[in-house]
Symmetry: C2
Amino acid sequence: MPKKWVYHFEQGNANMRDILGGKGADLAEMTNLGLPVPPGFTITTEACLAYLGNNCAFPEGLWEQIKAAIAYNGTRLGREFGDHKGPLLVSVRSGAKFSMPGMMDTILNLGLNDESVETLAAAAGERFAWDAYRRLIQMYGRVVLDIDSLRFEDVIAREMAAESVLTDADISPAGWQRAVSEFKRLIEQETDAKFPQDPWQQLESAIQAVFKSWNNKRAVDYRNATGLPHDLGTAVNVVSMVFGNLGRTSGSGVAFTRNPATGEPGLYGEYLINAQGEDVVSGARTPSEIHQLETDMPDVWQAFVAIAAKLEKHYRDMQDLEFTVENGRLWMLQTRSGKRTAEAALKIAVDMVNEGLITREEAVSRIEPSQIDRLLHPRFDMVGKNAAILLTSGLNASPGAAVGAVCFDADTAEAKLKNNGMAVILVRPETTPDDLHGMIAAKGVLTKHGGATSHAAVVARQFGKPCVAGCEEIKIDLNRHQFTVGDKTVSEGDIISLDGTTGQVFAGQIPMIVPDFDEQRDLKTVLQWADAFSRLEVWANADTPQQALLARQYGARGIGLCRTEHMFMGARTAKFQEAILADREHCRSILDNILLPLQRKDFYDIFRAMDGLPVIIRLLDPPLHEFLPSREELLVEVTRLEAVGDTSDGYQKKKELLAVLGDMEEMNPMLGLRGCRLGLMRPEFNHMQVQAIFEAACEAAEDGIAVHPEIMIPLTGHFKELTMTQPVLADIAAKVMQEKGVSISYKFGTMIEIPRAALTADELAETAQFFSFGTNDLTQMTFGISRDDAERKFLVEYVNRGILKKNPFQSLDIDGVGQMITMAVEKGRSTRPDLEIGICGEHGGDPDSIDFFNQAGLDYVSCSPYRIPVARLAAGRSALVPAAEVIEW
Amino acid sequence: MPKKWVYHFEQGNANMRDILGGKGADLAEMTNLGLPVPPGFTITTEACLAYLGNNCAFPEGLWEQIKAAIAYNGTRLGREFGDHKGPLLVSVRSGAKFSMPGMMDTILNLGLNDESVETLAAAAGERFAWDAYRRLIQMYGRVVLDIDSLRFEDVIAREMAAESVLTDADISPAGWQRAVSEFKRLIEQETDAKFPQDPWQQLESAIQAVFKSWNNKRAVDYRNATGLPHDLGTAVNVVSMVFGNLGRTSGSGVAFTRNPATGEPGLYGEYLINAQGEDVVSGARTPSEIHQLETDMPDVWQAFVAIAAKLEKHYRDMQDLEFTVENGRLWMLQTRSGKRTAEAALKIAVDMVNEGLITREEAVSRIEPSQIDRLLHPRFDMVGKNAAILLTSGLNASPGAAVGAVCFDADTAEAKLKNNGMAVILVRPETTPDDLHGMIAAKGVLTKHGGATSHAAVVARQFGKPCVAGCEEIKIDLNRHQFTVGDKTVSEGDIISLDGTTGQVFAGQIPMIVPDFDEQRDLKTVLQWADAFSRLEVWANADTPQQALLARQYGARGIGLCRTEHMFMGARTAKFQEAILADREHCRSILDNILLPLQRKDFYDIFRAMDGLPVIIRLLDPPLHEFLPSREELLVEVTRLEAVGDTSDGYQKKKELLAVLGDMEEMNPMLGLRGCRLGLMRPEFNHMQVQAIFEAACEAAEDGIAVHPEIMIPLTGHFKELTMTQPVLADIAAKVMQEKGVSISYKFGTMIEIPRAALTADELAETAQFFSFGTNDLTQMTFGISRDDAERKFLVEYVNRGILKKNPFQSLDIDGVGQMITMAVEKGRSTRPDLEIGICGEHGGDPDSIDFFNQAGLDYVSCSPYRIPVARLAAGRSALVPAAEVIEW
């Protein structure tokens, strides 16, 4: 007995998506709910796979089952497929488990031929019948026979010209009749075969075409791009045709059960009287608002409202519906969960919980964290944006919108803000830590070079500044203070608008919409629910008291990374440079007398902002030469001075500094003298920092603030780096506390960002009380790639070619870097079961990565303040959703 | 009943080193062999540990056992400890399981005091007695009471001045008597206590001092430096004194059972009549050759010869003996395995096998691979070296000796060799691939910067050139063609001598000894034995036919790494640069028409040299900018031209090239666009290379050569890099073979040098047929350090401070990188059980690392040709020695 390949709608249900596909399962579900669905059946995905695996031949029994199902449908409608008199017409529609735009969609009106079209014309009118017939031939020609659709459009265009009409809706019945002849001639000419008059042959070919479309290039590309598996196959739905274009008691429409833009309750959609579904969406006629149906056909409206409510309640989600009214009778053609904006998703979720329709868990699980990201960033008004002049596009490196006057260096940016309160956009070939004060002063940042994780991008996200990076098309002339793109020139002071969410750069000013977190009631409600479910806490990467306050406002439960290097920028740079270049004694004096009090103040303010919550402070991490002037610029200057014979003191000093910088230079600075290595070779910086931290902590404690400092030693690769560093620092801490007579509970810990640290995490945990994964560096070293170089040179191309599914700096490489993390967690906890473990890399704000971190048993993720809401939601979901989609690399 | 803390020599044996220490165990062994050992006993290491763990108090029963043992000794000798008449004198000597220079060694003549010294004087003479007594007080004062030894030396110096003599040997009995008084006064003054007259108190304090010396700073440092554990404790040997200075029928000597320099059979050593052991080694008198004993005391000689032969046979190894003759009676004071030169080690091992004394396995196991390394490199004549002027010292980056005229750039070096056949030493601030032809032309290389694994060092070892690197003391002035060190100036053309084995640089020419592998019969014999035991094969890193031939001569079983980038240097550089900078079509044309035929010839010659053996060819690996001119030099030149207003075509071209180089520049080139990444982004280079390899292989096969090419894809981090590269290359191979009508069996494989490759080795092995660990890069990335930067900036310091036990680029970091290797081997073989696995990094020639590679299950190690003998021996040993010393990091 052959397998069951065909299911009548009555035989399926919504849980059978695997074999019936999404559309077929939902049609079955509606049928079984007693809703008016045109009779029909679904050919299973298994039939498709059997067909494809059987050298494109129907498996045993399939054709017989199809024929029987068609006969059954005809019986129910009192018609017969292939009958000339009252023919049964059907549509054939593809429908995979997941919606797939790349696949073949639909052929309508199968069953018509030269004879039955006349019968139909007699029953429903000439125009309707010939239009229906030409649609069949046109779709069949394009989809089944693979004839260029332009060839058919040409025929229609000629007919329009011949009849001197402006739209095809105005073509006469005779015109369509002529078009049918032309179409048939075209098919014969292209395929050496006539358009099949046998409806069974039409049906068989259409089903085969749907099956084959599973493997067409667009479908394969789409699955590759979205990570869908290739072995699912598609189902085929064969549905009896109903017609909305049979007169004023017929019509078609689409509707959402709630407003998909705002989430407001109530039906939202449009419909067209006397029209088929495709006419509603084609735009040839302007549809009416859905409520017009109430006036036009009150009974139908009432039935539809009841059905919509029933479906929403049944599916417990906002539905996207398609329907047709044929001679006053309502037919449901589709229901599915409706796509919606982030605002709507939140409102609908909160409303449905309040209505008792869904649980809080379901509300949290249903909202995609990536959706809500943009809610928190300023964005351009759509109308304004559409009207603006697009200059160029780059990488969408940090979301949000910014408008300002172009400016080409950090000092100018800062000055313009300070002196004139001017909004500026900083434009640089690329940014370095030297540009930080300019980035902070600017509303947004535009760079020519660098990827989504370049310095510009990382810092911009950190500070919530919109950034477009890697905009290679622009040519920056720093001397002339201008950049060009194509034939357009933008000079210093000119206003541009940056859309960091899309990567677009516009000339002039576009009006903006600025969201306020506190006003986003629904978001805050959902995040509170998410927090209640989360196992993972969300902490913040915050380097300043301002950021710390912002992080708290967004719900951070601690600071997971306070980078102290940013504290030596700006006005302090000169003194810090002096300290770096001085002998030890002088260096120590600058540190103690000048920088220590400043750092103490930094830390005090951060402790105050985070009263009661832990604050992880990372000791100085970057190589010292990053704080010094550019060696290359100095080399150019010295060379120039030498060429013109300058021998002044100024020249001599520059030449000396050049030699020092030359000594400090490194081939691969990322792997060089930084982190704990620097702490071991030049311990005075760490000593000053620890002193400042504990002085600040003691003062804060005296002021009644609950302080929980955690000192983080970066870039450890060997446990001895810890055992040689930590006791010295602990002594300094103890001395400060003793002098102040205050006792602070604190922790020492380390970053895990070098593969060797993960491999020997058991040894590290003997000394470290906490681990924080620095996944940026860990990814760089595990992959053996340098972030900035790689994104510019090959990483983007790797993703485009499918070598990597995603940029591993945006979404954690679970197969590789993930192994390192799992290993380090296991080993670390084997030595110290109560080890506190978190992550403070870029991935701390990425929902897919957060899901992995939750499974790996981390205690918290730390991300930039603006990512906290996304991370809170993701953390809540990861505790609820059994296992997120596997990210394949 | 208390534990047994004390063992008479009769109660121990050579296997009891754990509790008796090395010296005690060997004294016991000799005693039980019936040899004349002065009566004595050993206090166990357990007693030491109990003492140290018991707040420096003797454990229960120890003192009683010591007293009983002393009494027993006295009984045997007919004397009594503490007796005034015929006192028993003893020495107290430390003796841990492993020889430890940092620990307290010996106190002699314990038991003497103000009374018994008179008795001794009466019996053996005034001079002998007072000298013996002052030695006791001096040693006791220094070792037990921790008084600066200079204080005692001062007294002796004053006495010498008073008596107007030149050596302390000439001090009169009365002088020593005065010195004794002074010494006693000194002790009282320093310690507020008198020198103890009670021999039992002397003994107790001496034993406690030995126990405590286990934890003195020197001993702890020594154990830290050598990786010995801290919990072993030391034993204490208490030995009855015998005296070689009682007249012409007494004497002392040391002897080896075979010549420790050459390995020649027969006793080799020296002795002094009428002297104590310390007089033989102190150099105050010139000892006689050992055979003089035969003349002086024929009976003693015969006895000693018999004892030496017995001990060598008993220990089955060449012995280092100490003896004393007291009044015609021979006493053995020590036997231990003798230290020996590499030549001697080989000769002794081969002779002993031929004598049937040891097995071949033992012969191979006993020779330290590191010893034989220097046998193969030219070395300086010792006499000439001692007479030469040392200019400076740097890192001993590549062993061997070289003499030549100084020269400061590669082109000059090459020209001088070509035109004048001149031996040159290339001196550079540091070397780059651009200098390769100069390094090949030079006899040796000296660099100011760079560590033991800098470019200069790696290439020098590869080519067997002596190299002194990181010689920071020299100041190179490239413009003046000279370098200075201190006040000395060395100009181009001046002759210097480099000792790459020691890192020394000498002015002028030192005569050399050049070894010839073929003449080293013993070495070749031992290596053949080693090969027979080895599980690991030894292959060679060889880039040229010359190196391949050399590798075969040294016994390589294949080429594990043929680096093709060196083939684009020298005369080909210009064309390769043109190809890099050209558009694809022009590039392809240069590759096909010019470089392909040259590469084909390269490969043909290598295949011919390696007839019958596998040859692994690595596809182009370095970033392309390494082949181009220095961007920085060009920047300086362009700046200079701009400063003087040059606008010529030459300037324009340079400026354009500068822009191109700027685009190609990378922040961290080690992690950049190279290896398989380059192959994916610019596949034309790989295509040309594979074409050349297979054309050469087909030609060679036609000429009757057995070719086994293996194509290695470098720097893989993700399996898709392989699946996207390999099939294309396999197609090219197939096409060539089809065209030529020849079928070649070949393999495709990859390097494992990125942590992620090790983590996902199971996936890589689905495509790769072999793995080759690139342990240099794998170490860099696992540690997160850049080799050149790190060695210069902190790695040497890390080793000095004991943060790392060894430089991980010289000896594999088993705890970290080793985990990566073990993981990759397991995962790789889980997918492909017959996966061929080797290693081609620097560690392939390091004996400790080789032992690990053997345990990890690798199939071969590949190293530079000159390291092959060392590696063969290490591979043989690793199959025999159960587990080498654990290297601790």
